[in-house]
Amino acid sequence: MTFLNVVEIESALNGLAATYPNISQLITLPNFTAEGRQSHALLIGTRKGCPAAGVLIISGAHAREWGGPDICINFATDLLEAYSGGTGLVYGGTSYTVAQIKSIIERVDVIVFPDINPDGRHYSQNTFAMWRKNRNTASSGGQASKIGVDPNRNYDFLWDFNTTFDPAAQAGLTLASTDPSNDLFHGTAPFSEAETKNVRWLFEQYPHIGWFMDIHSYGGDILHAWGDDTNQASDPDKNFTNPAWDGKRGLPSDAYGEYIGACDLATAASAGNAVSAAIAGVRGETYAVAQAFFLPSWGSTYPTSGASDDWATSRYFANSAKKKVRAYCVEFNRVKTFFPSWADMEPIILDVDAGLISFCLKAVPALSLPTWLCHLGRWWNEAIWHRVFPPELWGPYGPWERIRRVVESILIPIIRPFMRNFRGRSREPHD
């Protein structure tokens, strides 16, 4: 067993879509990477027409964090195998029932985009293992040391950090960088990169996505909004869209805090805790749930701009017509290394996949009346109507339809002259 290479990630998605055609569907992402690769995602769910919640899980943004795509492929595989086999799922001490797996597949659209930065992964796995960014040369000026953009500083959330953050907010360490040779280079514009454009495209194509997880490494943390400043629930005017606060973000204990409703914050923490509990149940690994702005183990603050989880959360706050998204970043592996052996990676895969199943369960929508009626209609159709009138007998390709056509083809030529005569006679009085 080994880490997946970029070709194998794509093949795995193809294989799953081909093996489980009724409950999965390959999604082709429209934006080609700088090195010409086209990425795919997998949509998992029965999609039988009833309202479903949407979950998007991505990974591989940072090239050197190898295990993320492996976690995603295994997660998708386990989910599809368990549903198809009518079983539950067990990860060490964390287990899920058949009904729980069924509720995810039948009431949630789970979209898994396992490797958003295949160029970077290919370079890391074959050339320079510690490579973090993508392989875009647009800002390099021909110098190898200036290749690449950090996809997770390229989203449209306070991207222009020099304007929107306080200068003291530690530019260059975690915030972002305008220097192409820096590992945190944020690109030439928000969404300048194919990798982030593809993630945005998924949100646009599947506007019901309400839950988002970006898988990174390492640390053993589950991070939620916001990443730019302290949270506050009292003053909605203090928010990332308000230019009056430009130049004042990113520092703790000052006048600015990023607005988030108290209920939203409680939900964010609650879902994070559910993921953490599921991970801990597998073999006892403790993942800390924290606001992304704070370093869990130290209490200091480390702001970020242009990060995926903040952007996903911000969409609703910037435009309330869009779906509210609960967005997270999980930093897998409590051992501080980007390169665990495969033997060490397998237990981590089980840990995080248990957390992802719990994450999806959080997304399962409550049964509202329209949803309940829709499911009732589906049950009636499948359990009663199609048994009494099986589509293979009564449908357009069934024997009754064929008999009807044969009878028509025999009778109509016989009846047609009589019909003409009848019509002719019926027209005579008027002539």
Partner: protein, 129 residues
């Protein structure tokens, strides 16, 4: 996919240029103020999202960074207590041997098998990824 990439993309010449120098993991130990000053003064690779800092019993703390030999020497010359842990680029090269070769899923003709247990199926998966 890779064949398609090799056929004349504009990045080819730059991909052939020098590979970055090896990076080492290093532990920098000092007071909270010392580490804060370090992080403000030097552009450092501190990992993914956050620096990893461990509190020590003597009220100091230790920060894990990734740097070239030259940068580690600069930190030491600036008076920081730095302990080199390992050559992480070399570790990465070793781990590259644990990356799949070819395509175990044969372009999608073979589906992966999951590692999670499916009770009642009488097997634990894992033949794929």
């Amino acid at each position: 996919m890779d064949d398609q990439i090799e056929s004349g993309d504009s990045n080819q010449s730059q991909r052939n240029e020098a590979i970055p120098p090896d990076l080492y993991s290093a532990r920098v130990t000092g007071s909270r103020e010392t580490l804060a000053k370090l992080m403000q003064t030097f552009e450092l690779d501190v990992g993914c999202r956050h620096p990893e800092i461990e509190a020590n019993p003597d009220r100091t703390a230790t920060l894990l960074v990734y740097a070239t030999k030259e940068r580690i020497r600069e930190l030491q010359d600036a008076g920081y207590k730095v302990e080199t842990v390992e050559n992480v680029s070399e570790l990465g090269r070793q781990r590259q041997k644990e990356v799949g070769k070819g395509d175990r899923f044969e372009g999608g003709r073979v589906a992966p098998r999951g590692l999670g247990e499916k009770p009642g199926q009488g097997r634990k998966g894992g033949s794929g990824s």
